[in-house]
Structure formats: structure tokens, C-alpha cells
């Protein structure tokens, strides 16, 4: 697990203060931290544990149970590839191998240039237009390697757009 700096800790303290009185506050707090910092830093654990009156082990147990939560900083773009049956019926098994090769990373890994993190996901609910992937909050369907490469290219070029 990676720690965060003083500023990150400030953000975490604010999030905890805002959410800690909710019934079942654990997941809302973890989601808010990951939304703001892109991951859940190791030094957030004692703060959460204290606020919710549970042990650090319990916080760790919750984080490690859920696939969505991560404890390391991901790449600039998190790419989730759907592994569900519907996507398999439309060629996702070959596609996931192609994407791994294309990015030179496996699942749960981040590319060397820190641009991409690859994660498996089990269903994005886009099953009438399989295979699907999610990048950030955008869901793309009817994907093949060519379309994937176009999407990746568009991720990298939008900041250079000139008017």
C-alpha cells in the first residue's frame, strides 16, 4: 500500500468528517476517498478506523474484499474489460488478449508510462452491444481492437487539440 502526503490526508479528514455519522459509513467514505485521490492510501486506514470505531484490520478487510477499491495509484486511465458471458459470446476472450498485448500489461497492472491500468470487470450492463469496456465513466460497446486503438488515440490527443 502507498501512503499519501499531507494534502491528501487533509482531504481524507474532510471526507471522514462529512460522512462518518451516516449509518454504514464505511463504503461511502472509501468511495469518496478513491474518487478524490484515485486510490485509498495506507495512512487513511488509521483515520477511518478511529472515526468508525473499528480496528485497522477491519478497514483493511473491507478494502480487500471489494474488487473496486485499490490501494495503489493507478495510471491516468483505468481500463476495465468486461469478462462476462455476453461479451465472451462476442469475442471478448480474444479481445482481452489483444488489449493486453497492445498495452503490454496484464490485469491489475499499470503501464510503465503510468498512462493505463487494466482491470477485469464482470458485466457493465451493456450486453446487447458486447463486447464492452469502461474507461473512466465512459462505456464503449461493440468493441474490436481497431475501435479500441481509436479510443486510446483519442484519449491521448484531446489535450493537444488546437483551435
Amino acid at each position: 500500500m502507498t501512503a499519501t502526503n499531507e494534502q491528501g490526508l487533509q482531504q481524507i479528514a474532510t471526507i471522514i468528517e462529512r460522512n462518518q455519522t451516516l449509518p454504514g459509513a464505511m463504503l461511502p467514505i472509501l468511495h469518496a476517498i478513491q474518487n478524490d485521490l484515485s486510490f485509498i492510501p495506507s495512512n487513511a486506514l488509521p483515520l477511518i478506523a478511529k472515526a468508525l470505531n473499528v480496528s485497522k484490520a477491519e478497514v483493511h478487510g473491507v478494502i480487500s474484499f471489494y474488487h473496486h477499491f485499490r490501494t495503489e495509484e493507478p495510471g491516468a486511465h483505468v481500463i476495465e474489460i468486461c469478462r462476462g458471458e455476453s461479451c465472451q459470446a462476442m469475442g471478448s476472450r480474444a479481445l482481452e488478449e489483444n488489449i493486453k498485448q497492445n498495452l503490454s500489461i496484464d490485469y491489475h497492472q499499470t503501464s510503465k508510462d503510468r498512462q493505463y491500468t487494466l482491470e477485469p470487470v464482470y458485466c457493465l450492463g451493456n450486453c446487447a452491444c458486447s463486447p464492452a469496456i469502461r474507461i473512466g465513466d465512459d462505456i464503449h460497446g461493440e468493441l474490436d481492437l481497431q475501435k479500441f486503438e481509436q479510443i486510446i488515440a483519442s484519449l491521448n490527443t484531446y489535450s493537444l487539440e488546437l483551435k
Partner: protein, 537 residues
Amino acid sequence: MNHSPSDDSSMPVASRKIFVSLDTTARSRGSDKVAKQVESILNSQPELAATLVRNGSRGMFWLEPLLEINTPKGRVAYGPVKAQDVNDIITLQCFDDAIEHPLCLGLTEELPWFKSQQRLTFARVGIIDPIDVDDYISHGGFVGLTNAFAKTAQQLVDEVKDSGLRGRGGAAFPTGIKWQTVLNEPEQQKYIVCNADEGDSGTFADRMLMEGDPLVLVEGMIIAGLSVGADQGYIYLRSEYPQAHDILNKAINNAKAAGYLGHNICGTEHNFHLEVRLGAGAYICGEETSLLESLEGKRGLVRAKPPLPAIEGLFGQPTVVNNVISLASVPYILSHGGESYRDFGMGRSRGTLPIQLAGNIAQGGLVELAFGISLNELLQQYGNGCKSKRAMRSVQVGGPLGAYLPADQWDTALDYEEFASIGAVLGHGGIVVFDDTVDMAAQARFAMEFCEVESCGKCTPCRIGAVRGVEVIDKIINEKSNEQERQDSVDLLHDLCDTMEFGSLCAMGGMTPFPVRSALKYFPDDFLPQPSTQKAQ
């Protein structure tokens, strides 16, 4: 949103509206680009005096992005539309009776695929602006709730019992009986929990409903609250649905502002508070007790039953846990009467089922029909065969824990009992189609692998069984295994499936054997060594 109720009142009756869906699948096919183009044209040509409405989807996904324009005869559909088509459609033809654009499909509601459906629960999906309370009300929304205020809690529960509604999440437990159990508990803090953790591959009905008509779910939950004496509701939504999350939150805020949520709703003595909580990518949290643990902020470990959640549920209090579609069917039942709902369907499966056509299917989407239609009719008449134009070989109904069915089983009627009688499940109504390139041994192996990844780990048959299941299937399909070794491994797999089926705490371990055994039973040749054939990767 792009139009407000006040615009409506100041406009002529036939106010010009252009509809482009904001549904996740429509967006994945480019509806945002189309909407942006519509907006820019409307801005640059104010004389068109039209407004853009971002609606849910009609569920004909192969036609998305679908652009609809209201005309005196009804909405006219164009699709699939690209941004570059928009200008022609709008400026040249949209308000002209003689519509000759090549993408024009005619009146949306006259399209045979749509017209033949029985949309009760999805009546407004794809029609209204999802977060606009006034639009919801003008299409029959909150009639059920208004009727509910005039009834006692027991009368409400009786109405739901009369409807014959059974849980649409997959278990098909009678909703009215579940509610009665919660109502019978002494007065105390009670909860309504909506299970919106729609994790089964091939299912998207919950998502479509939450994106297309979230207020019907809100209304259903309020009625559930009145029925059992609960004043707090939670929607447990999967984190894989960012668009549904956004729309639900907006709809809830608007319902609150309009007095339908909070204290003294609609000026009555009743209170109902509603909040969306996000899951975090755990399939098992679709199991109701695991979901409750997760809502409480814990690891999503399955609880042993009894006690039932209806008696000791969220934070130990009596709790109704219902699927999105179950709750969203309640407003219809209260506005039209339980009997009207019960008139649809067959046998003990009453009402309608939103069926989802997915996977390798030419016309994928959502079909709401009364129970009783056969799989074949769905696959051919609605689905129009495989998207790959190859032969259809196998169909998985009811998600990753449902059986794989070969062609000679496709005359089975969609009915809970009919499916149970062939060792299959209807589940949440998802149908995933595979063509003849599928390797059914690989699908059986995946079922075990999925169980290994998603098992909560509490009970041994599921936690260990899934790992052993992958290993033993690998032995069966290993080309180096001899005939005896293969037969021994098949026997062992059956034995393991028995252990999982009868020894697991919940459906995760208990039903993983369904896809495995059905693959083995109906497609035994796929498990034989066949290096020369064209197996899918």
C-alpha cells in the same frame, strides 16, 4: 435538463420535441454526439422552436442512437443516426408529414418489435424525461401512490399478494408474502432496501429502468414503505453503473423538492427518506444478506438464514429486500389493481417479465412480455438470429448461474416452473446467445473460474469447490488425459457439483453447477480432445 415544465405550459400543445437517449448502451453507440449536434442546430436555428429531451431507451439497441421527433400522429423514429445525419433530419423533414429520409423508421410505437410488447413496468421508459417529476406525473406517475394513501398497510400488502408478483431478481419469491412478514413485525425501525446490484451478465433491465424511469422505482419504494411501516429506503446500486447513479440521484433530489420524499410526504403524516448507496464491484453483494452486510459497511459475507432479512435485516431490523423490477412493478399494481397485473402470465408466473436479449444476437435489447412466450419465439422473432449470422448453438438464461440450453430445449415457455422442470432457471430474465464457434467446455470452466473470483469465501463448498472445479475441468479437457482419467474426472466433477449444490450457503456456490452440468450434459463432445476442430479461443 433541457426543458422545464414551465416551457411546456407556455408552448402550444404540440410543442416540438426531439428525443435522443441518455441510456448507457445508447451512449456507447454514440447518442451523446447526436444530442450535441441536435443542440447546436437548435441553438443556431431558434426558428425551429424545438427542445431536446434526453430520454431513456426504447430498448431497440441495434437502432440506437435513435432520434425521435414528436408529430401530431405520434413520435417518428430515425435510427441508427450519426451526428452528420442530424441536420438533414431536423431541418428538412422533421415537421413535415411526408417523411422520406432513408433512416426514417416510421412511428416508433408502430414498429412491430415494439408494438407487440406488453409494457407495464417499462411503460414510460424511453418516453419521458427520466428526472422530470411533472413529465412522470403527466404519464400516469404517482397514481399508484395516491391510491396507496387511501389504503391501510394490510390492504396494500393484500393488493400486492393479489397481483401474484414474484421477486424479479431471480429467486421468484412472492413479494406480498415477504412484505407481510415485515408488516407483522412489531412497530420499530424498518427498512426498504432495493437490490440494484444487477451483476448477471446478459441482464440490463434494472439499469435501463433506473436510467429511463427512476421515479417509478422511487414510487414503488415509497409504497413499500407505507405497506410495511418503513420510513427509510436504500438503493444499493452497483458501481459499474455510473450513468444510473447520476440519474437516480437527480431523480431523488427532484422527488424530494416536489414533496414526494422526506417528512410528511404529499402533506400526509407519512415520512419516507431515500438514499442511493454504491456497491464496489462484488458480484456476491447481489445476494440479499451479503448486500445487507455491505450496506452496513462490512465485507460482503453471506449470512446464514434464518433469521430472514424480513425479521432481522439491515442493522438487525425488519427489512424488505426487493429487486428493482419487483419494486418498479408495484406502482402499476396500485394504479390498475392487483387483478389487472395477475391477468397477464401463465401458471404461477403472473404479470410480465422484462426479457433481455444479449450476447451474439442481431437485435439485442429489452422485450417486456407476459410470461409464457417460448425461447424460440424470442430468439428468432425478436432477436432475429445471431449477430454473426452463424448458426445459434447455445443459450444461457438467467445469468452466470443459469443453465446452458441447446436448440432442442428452446421450445420451453418462459415460466418459473417450466424452466425449473428442465433443470434451468429464468433468473432475472437475461438471455445470452452463443453461435456455433462457442467452446462449451471453456464456458463450463469459466463458470467455475467466476465462482472462484466472486465467492465471498464464507462456506467451503463454494470457496474451495470452485478452485477444484477449474482444476478438474482442466483435467477433463487436457489432451494428454487418457479415457480412464477423463471418465474419473467427469465422475469427480459430478461429485463436486453435488457438494457445491447441496452444501453451499447461498446460490453462488449452490448454482454454479447449473452451467457446468448443463454444458457437460448437452454438449459432451466439447469436452473431448479435439485439436483439429475450430474451437473458439
